[in-house]
Symmetry: C2
């Protein structure tokens, strides 16, 4: 079952994740990816860990916020996001 | 075989990783962890994905740098670091 940790809040399952994302208090978010690194995550398993860092801009804000996000993509009739960890990076 | 991606440079194997870490151009680094999030990374496998964000201070520098790091810990007679992805977060 897919898992997401969003700013420390843990959610399990696609329905809960969609509900959480829909509840976020903004209408639009623009992502600007700065770095993307990927590694195979286990021998003998079709799975990839990806860490993304970058900046995002919410609604009409003009000051971008740094973020970091880790995805774990696992093959099961196509790849799906098994793990998703998102954090804003406060200075 | 353990993998590390350090600022986009990919290294495989414990010997190479130790050599890389020893070659870094500073003597001391202090880490201050801001967030740690962990999730089990696969059903039926003893493995954990951890994403850490925080600040680090190198040698005599006084301005901390933001960093993000993802670890994948896999059980094999004790847990070891199978994946390690490190990035500084530039604004």
């Amino acid at each position: 079952m897919s898992m997401m940790t969003w700013e420390g809040v843990q959610i399990q399952g696609a329905a809960g994740i969609i509900e959480k994302l829909a509840s976020l208090p903004f209408k639009r978010v623009q992502h600007k990816t700065t770095t993307v690194d990927a590694q195979p995550s286990l021998p003998g398993v079709k799975a990839i860990i990806v860490m993304v860092t970058g900046q995002l801009l919410v609604d009409e804000e003009t000051k971008p916020q740094q973020f970091s996000q880790t995805f774990h993509l696992v093959e099961d009739k196509g790849y799906f996001v098994y793990n998703d960890i998102f954090r804003l990076n406060y200075a």
